[in-house]
Amino acid sequence: MTIAVRTLDDGAWISVNDSRQVSVSDVWTLSHGTFCGCEPAYVLLEGFFGVDVSGSIVVADTVGRCLDCGTQDSIDRLPVGRIVDGEFKPYGPEGVQSIVEPTSRTRRE
């Protein structure tokens, strides 16, 4: 089946199949990343700007701020969940995430 993913309400949500699944303004724990020097980095996501499905992984383009050192930057293709049997399983911000693809583009917020 086809998976419809999109950002909604000015980047407040990632919607998967018309259900609001991943919410902005949560703190994510990022590890092994290039986001900033903190390990792990606790990063508040301030807005979603794009979303895509890569294989079975849903990835989001977002902007965040590290709660410890204050770095603000964009994050491309942050994995936010998986599609299993057509159902979205969110990773949730509590788990530790790796940024699989480092930030390459700078976008206007």
Partner: protein
């Protein structure tokens, strides 16, 4: 590729949405097909309905936009009755109870917990008194803001109410301007105090004079491209155009059409006209407007009145808001009442409606500082009005910390928010009032709290700017605020710069107390304003003056209010949410 939103708008948008709302209301919330939720909720915004956040599915925020904030006699009461009948949630707010109206910074009213099933009746009742929710949200002409005391104030130069109403009548439900690339915020100022706040709108008409054919004409200078949102604040730019009152609607239509045709429809984050203005600059903008969008020769800008702008300006002599008792040109009075964070409980709202009817003309006007104004109070009734019980709370003479407080919607209902806002700001204002002595000569002190960078509370133009953040305290993520200083409108408007970041929310009142103490100690003289004082110092010096600390202020919202279904519910866990629910409130079981 055009965004999904653009595709949905192409398929069905504007006034066609009404029949669909009626149909869904008839059949019930569950009739909206699961795989069409995103499209319909986006479209509903055009009719002023905004689906509330996660955990509150099937409930809507409804926005009602009277041009210039003018609610004619009877309109305010009808809104209160509607709130009484339909705006009740499944849980209470500890400060405001259940059932209230919110006065917003764009002179509109917001109601919450609205059921789709009730919308047709609400629309009918609004229409019966000449009100509407059309284009209150969505990609089009939003509520037109302007001088809330137009026609009633001695500082008036040109009748802002006439133009705001004409623009409203022309561009609401106007097919050619229904579907713009993004929201479109218009302001009309008529006075020399700048209370239309044109500088932070997409399109601003500001009072000016111009010699035309040997005669001095009073009309408007035009500015374009202001806005506060998304860490990209801009002041509207002067495009060197003077419009006579007769030309103003055509000029507005030309600019709106220019935006319709040239705004970025591929990328919603780049779609506001401020970004087109970044790209083009005011000269190219004016040229395009002249060549392609108006069929008469535009006048160059006239003489403006910006020198005396005092609204939200921090240091000027004139009025900073409309609170208080002010004489009208006709000898009657208008009485501005403070509404803390813009929220009025239904019971008190009835009392206010009665008071406006008995002592004034019954008009209730809404200001961009989330306050209300009664007009046409005869001199002999002013004392009677002032002695009404309800004016103790909604006071024409509030403490500066109460008077200066503005807060947006926040995590209570808004999906974008990072922190709780309104209840917190009420607590801040009370604590500051009880614990902090304002330095000599400081009669106005504005603290604006926004839950996120969208900046609905206009934080960047306050004395103290607060914006939602998170931080870690004792290893736990807690709600926090960035603190900014230096912002204000006026002749030379300036945005705050963010001086202290990620301050735990329970340390903010202490930070403001210390900042004021440090200001009192270090300022040149007792006549130096807070804004001047801040303007003389760089960010580092200012950072040293903000000393966040815990005090006896107690903050019940430090935990993650965003991950609740309602931050004040007994059992606030998202999984305990009673939403979505049927019209009678019974939860609808979900299959996942």
């Amino acid at each position: 590729m055009a965004s999904d939103v653009e595709q949905w708008k192409d398929e069905l948008y504007g006034t066609d949405i009404r029949a669909e709302i009626e149909r869904f209301a008839e059949e019930g919330w569950e009739a909206i097909p699961d795989d069409e939720h995103d499209a319909w909720f986006e479209r509903f915004k055009w009719y002023g309905l905004y689906h509330q956040r996660a955990g509150q599915e099937s409930y809507f925020m409804m926005r009602i936009g009277p041009p210039g904030g003018v609610l004619e006699p009877g309109q305010f009461r009808e809104i209160v009755e509607i709130a009484d009948d339909f705006s009740r949630g499944p849980a209470e707010n500890p400060v405001f109870g259940n059932g209230w109206i919110d006065v917003t910074t764009r002179q509109a009213i917001q109601l919450h917990w609205i059921r789709l099933e009730d919308v047709p009746e609400i629309f009918e009742r609004l229409e019966s008194v000449g009100l509407s929710t059309v284009q209150a949200c969505g990609d089009s002409w939003r509520n037109i803001v302007g001088c809330p005391v137009a026609g009633k104030d001695k500082h008036e130069h040109v009748d802002a109410d006439a133009l705001a109403t004409e623009l409203h009548d022309t561009f609401k439900k106007n097919e050619a301007h229904s579907n713009l690339p993004r929201k479109w915020k218009v302001s009309v100022t008529g006075c020399d105090e700048g209370c239309g706040q044109g500088d932070i709108n997409d399109l601003a008409f500001e009072p000016a004079e111009k010699e035309v054919d040997g005669e001095t004409v009073t009309g408007y200078n035009v500015r374009v491209g202001g806005g506060l949102s998304r860490n990209e604040p801009r002041f509207a730019r002067d495009i060197d155009v003077f419009a006579t009152p007769e030309q103003a609607v055509d000029v507005a239509g030309g600019i709106s059409a220019l935006f319709r045709d040239n705004g970025d429809r591929e990328n919603r984050y780049n779609a506001r006209i401020k970004f087109l203005m970044d790209e083009w600059g005011p000269e190219k903008f004016r040229e395009t407007l002249q060549e392609e969008y108006v069929d008469f020769e535009l006048h160059a800008a006239g003489e403006d009145l910006r020198e005396s702008y005092s609204y939200n300006a921090g240091e000027a002599d004139g009025k900073h808001d409309h609170v208080g008792v002010h004489e009208q040109p006709d000898g009657n009075y208008y009485v501005g009442l403070n509404v803390l964070v813009g929220r009025i409980g239904v019971d008190e709202a009835y009392d206010l409606a009665d008071a406006a009817d008995e002592h004034g003309s019954g008009e209730v006007r809404l200001t961009q500082r989330q306050n209300i104004v009664f007009t046409d109070v005869p001199e002999e009734s002013v004392d009677d009005l002032r002695s009404q019980d309800v004016l103790e709370h909604y006071s024409p003479d509030p403490h500066p910390f109460q008077r200066g407080s503005i807060a947006c919607t926040g995590t209570e209902f808004c999906s974008l928010s990072i922190v709780e806002t309104k209840n917190r700001q009420v607590r801040y204002a009370r604590w500051l009032t009880n614990n902090v002595e304002l330095p000599e000569g400081v009669e106005n002190f504005h603290v604006h709290l926004s839950g996120c960078t969208a900046s609905c509370a206009q934080p960047q133009i306050a004395d103290v700017s607060l914006r939602g953040m998170k931080t870690r305290k004792d290893g736990e993520p807690v709600e926090a605020l960035d603190i900014g200083l230096g912002g204000g409108l006026g002749e030379e408007p300036q945005f705050a710069s963010w001086i202290a970041e990620r301050v735990p929310a329970d340390e903010v009142p202490g930070a403001i107390a210390n900042l004021l103490e440090n200001f009192e100690e270090a300022r040149d003289s007792e006549t130096q304003s807070f804004r001047e004082f801040v303007g003389e110092r760089d960010d580092e010096e200012l950072a040293d003056l903000i000393e966040p600390e815990e005090t006896d202020y107690d903050d019940p919202f430090m935990h993650n209010t965003k991950r609740t279904w309602y931050p004040y519910a007994e059992d606030d866990d998202l999984n305990e949410s009673p939403a979505p629910a049927k019209a009678d409130g019974t939860p609808i079981p979900s299959d996942d």
